[in-house]
Each structure stands twice: as C-alpha cells, then as structure tokens.
Symmetry: C2
Subunit: 332 residues, 2 copies
C-alpha cells in the first residue's frame, strides 16, 4: 500500500483535488460539497489510510508547525524537564519540537538558529548563550518569533520566562545566614546577564541586611564553557584560604553538582564542614553531603508559558512581555 496523495483520492473519487482538499479539511459543508461526495472522499481516505503530507502542507501554508528548543545541554535535568513539558504543551497545540544543544557556544547557537530558520521552523524557545542584545538580535534576526527562558537580556522588549532571581537569591542566602554562617561564598558563572546580576544583588543585599560585609574574594566566577575544571580550581583555592568559607551559594545546578563531586572526591574531609545552597534543583541534592538547599524552578509552568507566548507571537503576532515566576525553596 503505497502512500496515497490527495491527487490519487481525487482520481479515484472522480472529483477535483480542490474538492478533496476541502472535504479532508472539514470545509466540505462550508464549500457546499454534497454529502454524498463528502462521504465518498472520506471513505476512500479512510480505506487507504490517507495522512496528509505535512511537508507539502507546510510549503503551501508557509508554516511548519514546528518549534525549536535550543538549550546549552539537553542532558541537564533542568533543561530535560522543561523539554518534556514543552513537548507536551506543544503537542496540544499541534506543534512538534526540534531540539538542539549549543554547549554554551555562541557560534554553534548561531548555526543552529540559521538551520532552524532555513527549516522554516515557526519559532524558537531559547536559553541563549549570547551575552548581549546585539548578539542576540543579529543571530535571531528581526521578525522571527522567539521566547527566552532561563537567561534574558537587559533592556529588551523580548518575551522571556524567568524566575524571581533577586528574591530567590535572598531567600537562599538568608537560609545560610540563619544556619550561622558568616563567610558565605558565591559560585557564579561569568556573565553580564540580568538574571545572574539579579542573583548576585540578592546575595549581596541579603548579606548587608544581616550586617555581614561583602567580600570580593569570596566570589568565584566560572567560565560556563569549562565548568568542571573551573569549579575544581575554585574549590581548591577556596579550601586553602586562611579564613575559609563555610557555606556557598551556587547560581546554577551544574556549578553545584561539580562542587559536590570535587569536595567528595578530592577533599572528602571538608564535606561535613560546608553548607550549600543552589539555584535549580537536582535529585542528588536529596542525598549528597553537603546537603543542598535548592530553589526549584517551576518547569511545567515555564514550559507552558513559553509555548503559549511563542504561539502568541506565531499566530497573533503579539509579543508578550517577560514574566518572572516564583521558585520553591527546598530546605535540606
């Protein structure tokens, strides 16, 4: 049973392909196609297991019913969970999801987006590695629907889904302070993006509110492309300080996971002395020593908002502004 096209059905039914197209799209009544003809066409379609060729449909409609999901690393459970919910939400709206990993590499990201545009993908949901607006705009281009999440850029009108970075950083820091810590380190990723800056500000303000003075040398900035070695170096540097850090706030889960690993494998005798708090949850935080108090991002909400906002752009050409969702703190 070879693939059957609308032309073949038309031929078998003895009508024009126009008629077949109308009927198969449920516009038979509207287009005044007689019931008898409609039934005949539907019957032939069913018997031959007709499925419209999406590619042809896409070409004709100028729409691929596909959205792109572009992240640094789909194997990071944070992105994995969002991917899952994106797919679920997209499917409900008739869209499929194409994924790609940037590895935090802006030139790879550019290529991916070029490719997705060539594929006529209707829009993308993006945790971008770009560092400023210009970069993003030259990459994505004007008039191409996209929604940012996780990271967003300063001074834009772009739609993005973020979290309450500032408040979450404060909450996490306050928990460490309440546990009695005075020397609280900060492991951040090198970035000038607002989400990171907001988190840093939350950390600083929280210290200030508790009359703990902020020290530059408690802050470690790690290159997102070399997190493994960056964290390892930072940890050993930190441990060898004369007045050592007793708690650390991590600005994302990859930093935290690497730090836990480094502490456990290289400096196991330090692991009981430290308290960790981290953005993004990981299952292993339930069991690791140090235990990690974490800020769980609402991945399902993020995904749903992202898909809805993207579809709003695609279908209605309306660009919603950014929103910030609340995290849930999991104290451990």
């Amino acid at each position: 049973m070879a693939k059957i096209s609308i032309n073949k059905i038309a031929e078998i039914a003895g009508v024009s392909k126009t008629t077949v197209s109308f009927v198969l799209n449920g516009r038979g009544d509207e287009k005044n196609i007689s019931l008898k003809t409609q039934e005949k066409i539907l019957d032939i379609a069913k018997k031959n297991n007709y499925k419209a060729n999406f590619i042809a449909r896409s070409l004709s409609l100028g729409k691929s019913f596909t959205i792109g999901f572009v992240v640094p690393d789909i194997s990071n459970p944070f992105f994995g969970k969002i991917a899952k919910h994106i797919e679920t939400a997209a499917e409900k709206k008739g869209y499929s999801v194409m994924v790609a990993n940037t590895n935090e590499d802006i030139s790879k990201e550019t290529n991916i987006i070029e490719g997705f545009k060539a594929r006529q993908i209707d829009g993308i949901i993006l945790a971008s590695a770009s560092i400023n607006n210009n970069q993003l705009k030259t990459m994505v281009g004007k008039d191409y629907p996209f929604v940012l999440f996780d990271r967003f850029l300063p001074d834009t009108e772009d739609s993005y889904i973020g979290i309450n970075n500032y408040e979450t950083a404060q909450q996490l820091t306050n928990i460490l302070i309440k546990k009695g810590h005075k020397r609280i380190g900060l492991f951040s990723v090198t970035s000038f993006l607002p989400n990171i800056l907001e988190r840093i500000k939350g950390y600083k303000d929280s210290l200030k509110d508790s009359n703990i003075k902020y020290c530059d040398n408690l802050v470690y900035e790690i290159d997102p492309k070399n997190i493994k070695s960056g964290v390892k170096n930072a940890i050993s540097q930190m441990i060898n300080e004369t007045d050592p850090i007793t708690a650390i706030l991590f600005l994302n889960n990859v930093l935290t996971a690497e730090a836990i690993w480094a502490i456990n494998t290289i400096y196991p005798d330090h692991k009981e002395k430290l308290d960790f708090a981290s953005f993004d949850n990981l299952d292993l935080f339930d069991y690791s020593i140090p235990r990690v108090t974490s800020a769980l991002q609402p991945s399902e909400d993020i995904a749903t908002y992202a898909v809805n906002m993207l579809c709003d752009q695609i279908d209605n050409n309306t660009v919603n502004k950014g929103i910030q969702l609340n995290t849930s703190i999991i104290e451990r």
Copy 2:
C-alpha cells in the same frame, strides 16, 4: 530584507531557476555553467543572504533530513544523555532531531509515530513501549526506517542497540553476593521483552552459580506506568517480610531512584541495612544511602550507533542487525 527565493535570484541574474539551482548546489561545473554566470549567481545569493527553503527541498526530494527520537521520558537523564549525543551525531550528518515522549503509553506512541510519518520524518530512534513484534510492526509499518534501543523485541531482524543484559545482570548480582548477601531481591518492570528477560536470567544464573536458591517472592514486578506507587508498595511489602531482603538488584534507574526515595523518606531506619545494584547510572547514586553499584550504559556509543544504523537504512536501505554494547560497572 524579505526572504529571497531561487526564483528571485534567477530573475535578478537574468537566468533560469534551473541554472540557479545547479550553481547553488555546487553542480555548476558539472552542468557546464560558465564561471561568469556562476559567480554572478553566488554573488547575488550571498548579498541577499539566501538560505534554501528546507521545506521546499524536502518536498521535492521526498526527504526531510529529520530523525525522530521517541522515548518514554526525555527528562530521564539516561534518555537525556542519549538525546544529546543523538543530536550531535545527527547534526554531523545533516539531520535534525525531533523528540517526543510516550510516557510508556503505547497509544500515545502510536500517535507520535503516525505524526512523525506524516511529517515525512526519515526514520526514528525508538525506546518503545510496545510489548511484541506485531504491535511494533503495525505501529511502525513496513518499510519505515527505525532503530530500537534500550528495549528490543524477540525474534526480529530489526536493528537495535542494546547492552549485554545477561552479563551485566550477572556482574551486578555477583557484586551483591560478594558483599555477603544471600537474600537478594529483584525489582523489575512488568515486561516480556528480551532485555528484561535476559537481565532476569542473569540474576537467576548468578544466584545459582553461588548456590543461592532463587525465590519467586523476592521478585517484584512493577508496572512501568505507575512506578512511583508500585515501588512504594513493593518496598513496604518487602520490609514487612519475616526474613527480609538485604540487597536489591534494580533493572532500571527509575525503579532505583524511587526505591531510594521511599527508603529515605518512609523507612529511614532501614537505609543503612540495604545494598543496592542497578542498571543505568544516575548521578545521585554517588551520594545516596544506600549507595548504588550501577551499570553505566555507553550513551555516546549507543547514540552514534543508533544514528549510523538509522542512516544506513535511510540512505543505503541496508538494515544492520542488532548489537549489544558493554556496560561499565561503577562499584560503590
């Protein structure tokens, strides 16, 4: 700068679209297009930032340069890691990757595959929820390229990538035995698939080799659609046995993660008394109590083989037989 088509370029250059197509596909010399004309066309294309419309190309060539990746749950790190490597390997061959989650639901899986076929996706890489050959065959259909991984079906000529289930099960069981355990439970997923049966056989044979008699009531079969509650019930049942289990072999990582969670939250006083071994690694196994000895699947190799085998089917119409890769045991 609106999108530019091959027609527009032809118009601007004053040549036919045929010529433009030849030149842009690098077939200018072969097709005896003069250098002057070639340069002119290339120049116009560059200046207008021409990118071929993939959809049109797909329709014409009958090929979408897209592969589908269909798994129960993309947010499971095991599948996430494979997804990442699949994308990398696919991209090298000019393919993009579309993902979908089945949630272990065969009817959802059927719909996904129907949809992917309608989208003219060239082939799929599939960890199927189907339970037999007939089901798979009616779902996927004849002549549609696909590669199975993780799970495969009995008595087929299908290409699949698996692991050495039998030997891995033996190795894991032996490690538990060597630690002195005599009452070793088995947490399995309800399934008649060879990969599960092989694992069970490895477990049984390993017991036999050490003169430990196999007991049916040490085996818990859990419905893959309700793992959370299934594991919870099994754990409490197990703990209330008169002669309790002291170690458990888990046949996949979801079972293990749920069991660790149940033990830690519901029966924390039992957690030091148990030893776990599990198929598939999870980062949290490094830190959880019970520690888990695990069999890490070579996700990059699995992904590479899967993509290569699929492309062999797509491009050369050759169906490679199944292969089984070795796992690496991580003792903890």
